[in-house]
Amino acid sequence: MKWCRVKAFFISGLKTTFRDRASIFWVFIWPIILVFMTAYVFIPPSVGQPLTLDMGVVNYDHSEAPFNGTAFIEVLKIIEYNGTKLFNVRVYEDEDLLLGDLTKGELDVGIVIPSGFGNNLTFSQAKLKVYVSGGNVYSIQVNRAMVSEFLRRFSIEAGLRKVEMSLRYMNMSYVPSKIPTQGPWGDIGFLKFIRNYMLGLVEPINVTIIEKVPEALATRPAVIGWYVIGALGMMMLYTGFIIGSTAIVEEKERGSLDRILSTPVKESEMLAGRSLAGLIVLLLSSLAIVITGVYAIGAKIDWNPLSVTDWLVPLNLIMIGLMTIGIGYMLSLLARTSRGASSMGTTLGLILSFTAGVWFPKEWMPAPMRVLADMFPITWALDTIRDIVVFNIGLGEALTGTVRNVIATAAIFAVGVIAYKKTLRKYAEL
């Protein structure tokens, strides 16, 4: 193999790519747009923060009770969760006006506080009428869940206060002699026993819900990091497929293949030059995506040049590049025109991005579809990269994955090389 012949294809491949506006768009601009969309559309800054619902309230309650409709509205106005207000409250004169705005989609939730609400809350059982806006299935579920949970908690809190008030006025002489104040809980005395009993009436089960997410994905930057690697994988899929599938047909269309085949260049030199140029384009694009991800949208991608494990990342990137180009060479067997090859590469790349666990986590997919993701070696290599830069796995685990990826790459690229040579020979046998 003579280097200057490899260099000829390498340099021409790079120059033609970087001088073609369409290539620049698909290889650099589109993945960067995708990265920004990841941060601001798919995982907007509000993710992880409570929603704030637009709430309309009509208050028909003018009772003298200490906690009446007016006090309830004040609570609604100030209630927060994790520093975020839960409701933007707008007070309406009557229910019709409230319903009008609700049906226009200007409100997420409407509450009607009936007359006597305060007195009933203090001495009996109060009622509330709640309207939930039904723009779409997702929003109706979210609005309903939020307002229901708030009212459930509020109701329990009100019940607990009523228990405290009731105990304050309880006459000790009413203590029945047969009430057991001793038990597994020890001798806690009558009042405490009654208090606990009444708390149980208000809230029979006190549930504690603890949110537990993987430490590495616990933060928004980590989630973005996961998707940035996905964007990189998506770009590599369609770009690598296009580079491989158009390699021969493009030369054929511009008439340079005849001239090239008449020179003393070997198939292996053509292949090495083209693959190297394609690989460099893919790696430069990956670098642009990662830099944009880390510095422009704050993705958590940890890479330390002093860590041996982290050096497996570029190695796995090279593996992905070679696998996609190799599959592209296989597609070249089917390609008749460069436009057809390009469309085939893009379509297959995008389909696999969404179905093979590249862009969407494979856990989101139905079980039968996960089989593809589990068996797709490009997803293996991407997951190895994610494991290293997002989940910070150790060298041993990373090395095991990488060895498997190297074997898969060697197999796929070898088949690609055979397909490439077959395509060339098919042309010569025409």
Binding site: R5, A8, R19, D20, G255, D258, P264, A428
Partner: protein, 322 residues
């Protein structure tokens, strides 16, 4: 299959054949595109493959350069098969489409093809610049090829063919689409290459090109070589005689008797005389002398010689443009 190497003598002088094609066949589907073609090209010789579009010229050139494989027959480039990379290094092939990369500059295209020939470095850049100067493209070598005119692309394609100074040049329709001025410039370059000892095979459908450049011509039709020889041999063998048209101030006395002495077919119409001649060099002086001797006076004399187009018409019953 014909053994051409043993027959390679002209006028008793044994020539050095650099390219030999023997009994080559090529079939696409159920159509024979090249049928039992044999030809040879000697060192320092320009040979044309003349035929209309679709005659099989391009396919034959692709077989000769190793781009396509023949179904049967063989091609030898200095005794080597075109599939041998050493043989390919001896050949410079300029396809009909110049095969340039639009997104590279003229210089970059030249460097691309130089590297494919195994050449790199500063000396090659100098040679590239020299070739571009010869082609008149020095001022445009930094421009992207997509901005080149068709003629410029053809010239750049030819320059790329010469980059490794090959012993054999295979040129497919080298001047198609060029204006007459550029065409003559390219002819001059091709003749210059011939003088340096290169064997040159040109596929063309321009009979003027074949006549102007070729030492020998192979006429190809429907994949088969239908005739070969020097242009004058072909014309004398297959073309109708030349026509000598003479406009006279006055007719010679007793014109009929006078002209009969020439032994040529002729017609006289008023003051115009039309004579058919198979040897113009011999008959024109005889005719002029006879007219003068018999009191006639020549106003205008015009000779219409037969062309290779006439040869092709005679051989196939069709014109070259059909």
């Amino acid at each position: 299959m014909v053994n051409l190497i043993g027959k390679n003598k002209v006028g008793g002088v044994r020539l050095r054949a650099l390219l030999v094609v023997e009994g080559v066949w090529k079939r696409f589907g159920d159509r024979d595109v090249v049928r039992d073609v044999s030809l040879l090209v000697n060192e320092g010789e320009i040979v044309s493959l003349l035929g209309p579009n679709g005659a099989g010229k391009t396919t034959l050139l692709k077989i000769i350069t190793g781009v396509l494989r023949p179904d049967s027959g063989r091609v030898l480039i200095k005794g080597l098969s075109p599939e041998d990379l050493k043989a390919r290094a001896l050949v410079g092939f300029c396809p009909q489409e110049p095969g340039l990369i639009d997104d590279l500059t003229g210089l970059e295209n030249m460097m691309f093809y130089a590297r494919l020939q195994g050449l790199d470095g500063k000396n090659v850049v100098k040679r590239v610049e020299g070739l571009l100067k010869i082609m008149g493209l020095s001022g445009d070598m930094g421009k992207l090829v997509r901005k080149y005119s068709g003629g410029m692309k053809k010239k750049l394609g030819l320059a790329a063919t010469l980059i490794h100074d090959p012993e054999i040049l295979i040129l497919d329709e080298p001047t198609t689409g060029m204006d007459p001025g550029v065409r003559r410039e390219v002819w001059r370059i091709i003749q210059q290459e011939k003088r340096s000892g290169k064997a040159i095979l040109i596929a063309t459908h321009y009979m003027e090109e074949a006549e102007a450049l070729s030492d020998r011509v192979y006429i190809i039709d429907q994949g088969r070589i239908v005739a070969s020889g020097t242009p004058s041999e072909l014309k004398s063998k297959y073309a109708p005689p030349s026509v000598i048209e003479v406009e006279l101030y006055r007719l010679p006395e007793n014109a009929d008797a006078t002209l009969k002495d020439l032994g040529l077919r002729y017609t006289v119409h008023e003051d115009k005389l039309r004579v058919h001649s198979s040897d113009v060099d011999r008959d024109v002086p005889r005719l002029v002398a006879l007219i003068h001797e018999n009191g006639g006076a020549v106003k205008i004399l015009r000779v219409t010689e037969p062309t290779l187009e006439d040869v092709f018409l005679k051989l196939t019953g069709r014109g070259l443009e059909s």
